[in-house]
Symmetry: D2
Subunit: 392 residues, 4 copies
């Protein structure tokens, strides 16, 4: 075991795309804002393509790069393996890292299957390393504040959870067949990429699912083959077409242990919605709304307010009293997307330094994967699927 007594913590990052950028930035920025017990040291970044990983190494500020992730996992001078590679590689890298006694932080979804996810969780638990899954939206101050309000009973018994995650970046039929559109690499489409975030927020805020039914849709079934580099804005560079093997959109109805009724929709075909990750919770004493595009705000309705004075309050969660907000700027000076990762890493390193298991972790990854798999099963069988709570 490593890390706990150190003043610095040494990071090896596998992968270097969009999430590689987000994580690298968070490592660098964390010590500026937080009295983190462990200061990240960016030791090595890994990618198969030497030219591009070298560029990423320089850009992101790593000491070195490597093209073979196994070499990094085996290095003694690495405390944390950060996995931001395409989803199909997660299980192998994570298991190797755990076996090597590294703490592991990983992008969602945890794996391609529940079986993989459970193996990863089991291994992590048995080895005693700290593990975390990057459901970063949990760490928006407004979300943490929503959690506090719910836990304090401010909205009472929950009746409804209503979530949409809407994007629009692949409506153009010329958008190429990137890895995110291929089932063997990505596992699923809108479901695992963005729907997974909505499912996680629901679990975080109101608890576990008991059953669900859903449907999946692929609106554009063939796309031009293109660069496989995987960015969000790649252009097709080929006349050849390939089959889209994941969902463009998914819709779900669910029930929760607490009796709430849930509805979820995730799509990459909602024109005009660049990254509309939003939800509303309705309870017997109040309601809560949030929208990632205005992530600093939380809308809160409290039915105990005086008659006539009831209405959704638009709360700008940038005050010292709001979770994480005191680390940043004075009230009204907003923060952005990247700060959700900084906050998440603060939790990760505190867990390592203070020897507790931070959340969300591989257990959450397993539970999320169970939901993803249940949704796919439900969509295929056109039926409701029960969600078991035993995961071992």
């Amino acid at each position: 075991m490593v890390g706990v007594e150190q003043k610095t913590i040494r990071i090896g990052m596998i992968g270097y795309q969009f999430m590689g950028k987000a994580h690298s930035h968070a490592y660098r920025d964390l010590p500026f804002y937080f009295d983190t017990p462990l200061k990240p040291e960016l030791k090595v970044i890994v990618g198969r393509n030497e030219a591009t990983v070298k560029e990423a190494q320089k850009k992101f500020g790593f000491e070195a790069y490597e093209t073979d992730w196994r070499k990094v996992v085996e290095r003694d001078d690495i405390d944390v393996i950060d996995i931001v590679t395409p989803n199909h590689t997660h299980v192998e890298i994570a298991l190797a890292a755990i076996e090597a006694g590294k703490h592991v932080i990983i992008e969602k979804p945890l794996a391609l299957t529940v079986e993989e996810a459970k193996r990863m969780y089991k291994a992590a638990k048995e080895s005693g390393v700290k593990h975390m899954i990057c459901h970063n939206y949990r760490f928006a101050p407004a979300i943490q504040f929503a959690k506090q309000l719910i836990d304090q009973g401010k909205i009472g018994r929950v009746f409804h959870y209503r979530a949409n995650y809407l994007q629009d970046f692949i409506i153009d039929p010329e958008f190429p067949l990137v890895w995110r559109l291929q089932k063997d690499i990505a596992g699923s489409g809108a479901l695992g990429d963005i729907g997974a975030h909505s499912l996680d927020l629901a679990r975080f805020l109101i608890g576990e699912f008991t059953e669900l039914t859903g449907t999946m849709e692929t609106f554009i079934k063939e796309r031009p083959l293109g660069e496989m580099s995987g960015g969000l804005s790649a252009k097709g560079n080929s006349d050849q077409m390939g089959e889209v093997t994941v969902d463009d959109a998914v819709a779900i109805i669910a029930r929760f242990e607490n009796g709430a009724l849930g509805t979820f929709e995730a799509t990459r075909f909602a024109n005009g919605n660049r990254n509309k990750n939003k939800f509303e919770i309705n309870g017997e004493k109040g309601s809560i709304r949030w929208d990632m595009e205005n992530m600093n705000n939380l809308e809160v309705y409290l039915s105990d307010d005086e008659a006539g004075e009831q209405g959704f309050r638009l709360i700008n969660c940038t005050e010292e009293v709001h979770p994480y907000a005191g680390a940043y700027w004075p009230a009204g000076h907003i923060i952005g997307y990247e700060h959700t990762f900084i906050n998440l890493f603060d939790e990760f390193f505190r867990g390592i330094a203070e020897d507790y298991q931070p959340k969300p972790n591989f257990e959450d990854g397993v539970r999320n994967q169970i939901l993803l798999e249940a949704i796919e099963k439900s969509a295929e069988e056109r039926s409701w699927v029960k969600i078991g709570q035993e995961i071992e």
Copy 2:
């Protein structure tokens, strides 16, 4: 057949609650705003309770009242029977009115069952009277304008229809067991009362459903017995409890003939949402959003707008160029809920005067009822249900 050559048209209204008020007002206000070909004459209003119907007669401006609807249906000096009674009485009154050769306008839902609805539609068609069902939200100027945009191909192929109808007026467990909460009178709860509106708007705007799956929930299963007068804000006046036999909330996933994926939710348990009837449509070339609480506005996104200048436009549909808006006030001077009925009645009387069958009518009522029944079946059987397009 009556009415066509007349300058005035004589109304007999059965019922006098919330919808009775809305309809009465529309009759009175219509000739002020529109060059209606037929000026309504409020002849008689019907209710079983003489004291209250007498009050309504005076308040709403009817010439006379009556306690037996059959007498009114049989009167020669009545051209239109307007049915705003609780749902379980619709079929009998409507059939009698049609048989008597009256034009019929009726509150939704058309009936308690598809079988009833079809009988009503068949009778109306065969008799040749004009018939209409009061899906008034179709007649908000913003909705009519949305319909124009869609028909002009402004948003292209439709991918998503996403609707919520959220209310909160029965969250209090002390709210009494009014007729709207009793299946034998109301047919269903949130589903038929408000969900029916969402389903109708979807059909109006993007076309027919092909299949759906849904679930229904009753959060509060027993309520105090109260006055059966049926208003929205009645108070329980009894220590006795009765069973709530309708749904408090319903959630639906659906598919449309045009390939779109639909999600619907209707509930009376969404705290802070007084009458949040809203939807979003996403197409390949644009998107449209609407919300009844800001009913004069339409949000429209057009992806053909120049790069960088794309964004949802907040269109205040109060300009002369917008449907119906020219009849009211200068741009920016908003109208309200009641005007949806005025516009609807304008269409009704034009249909009668110009001898065409206005929409939405009993056919729409049947199709809506088919959806309601399918949803109940789906909820009971926990499965998808196909929607047939043949209705005879």
Copy 3:
């Protein structure tokens, strides 16, 4: 004196343009919604152009029309003279009506000068008739509710009053030289037409002005001569140009008796703002915002709310507890522009029936005129102008 004991009250309306329509509608609709002590009877409408006034008579539902207002003022069977003519005619008609013992209701601004306004107020007071000026925005339920909150001390000592009234209907240089753009008829431009409303709301909500400084601007100095009919959307029909003699825009800084600092802006050149009549009030304990384009909503901030839970509440003032709202529809079913007039007329007729002087009345008209004149003087002299509180 007339009217008090009557069950009906007989209206003679002088003028028939935009405001004629708004008033006529309000007379007709008032008894439907309110238990008004006096039911208006639309006796006669007056206009100089026989063809158009005849059309208005039919459209608005008056029993008769007349081309000479003096004949109407002299009629015994008229209780109320309603003056909706261009501003320069107000004084003569009002004085004659008062002399004839009629109650008078008049569109704003009261007159072209303070001297005229004072004469009108003096005459009205001495004769004992009831008089009212149509600052209709006071009668939006949200405004009446704001007034309640302020009077209850909910926002405490007032620091700021910040109002804009923004329109955009004359930006096109081809928009003709209608009467509203001619000083000898209209008195002033944006100032008297829309700025006057903002000034009245400020007086209603937070009290009297003590001093102000302002500036006026005419962006387009010549316009084509056009129909003088005066509607808001007339088209120029001439090659001849005429001088615009009123302001297109006005900006004002002011101080109030209560120590508050005020800023006001009224313009017809704010592109995209069709009728954006809005304000914000900041006090030591809270703030209030309102915008006519969403007139049912009031935004209220209360700094006594718990730390972290503070934020502007979006209150939909359509609940029974809100002023006037109970007369209309269930919560969340919004009303519109025309209802401000209905509420205003309810107050007018109650004043007549119960023999109290309703507000706003000619005194408010004088005080408003004092402000208008002070602003013009300030703009001309480029200096601050004191506002005296003695008006007799």
Copy 4:
């Protein structure tokens, strides 16, 4: 002269409060997001209180600290002097830094008087160093995009500029007499602290002022003496009271060279407005709105849009096509307050590396100071003040 050929650029920062934090963060984060030609090296930070500056040194990541700013200005291994001290110290430090041949970047306002500001500008110009003033809001992507739209003629001739900068952090009378509330240190209150930002944005977006009139107000005239450390949330720690010698609020009416009419208001007494820096520009072809609390969004109205489809577009300026946005995250993933500084520093270092004078600079500082002084004069003399365009 230094800096141009270097790969790194060495920073000496004088001051370490709120702006010290913002600048330090920007230096550190800049190379991650931008291919900056000069990588900042944080050499030394200066403060008079050794204990606190030492803490800041560690927190912000400077190599060393110093208590005497003169020593730093004289050091050979410093290329840039960054001045974030209270306003009354600006002139002396800046002149010394310029004399020592350092590039200078400084927080606004530039100085306490126009005379000081001109001396600073003259010295900087003559020495040939690069100089910049931190009007950071210019560098929000939405603002840069607004500037593009205006320069492209998208909104045409400008009629109105309407700005508010509203805060609420000193409403509590117990808030202590920090340096920002003392004229000899701060120069002015809301005017120089936040109003200066609004004035700068107006100059940046639509050009120079020609005349103005304004008023200033101090609502709470005495406050408890407190720590002089100067943070935004300090608590009074004394029973002694001191006089507030600056304005709590200021209101201004202005005219611009392009004929536009401007209104400005800055206050620290607008309850519920934490940092509401907003404006609206109305032109003959369109309008633009912005609000710092939702700084990623720009609202744009274009009157050339088709009739009926006109409305303010809510543009999320996070797309690659938007200025600076491509450096950060995919569309819809918002950035925050701190990124305005990163963008500003990118411009500063490009100016140094490519040897051009970046903007806004000391010339802008002088012009801003001229406005501040004119407003104070106007408020004192209660009259309009002309703004000369010659500044030397």
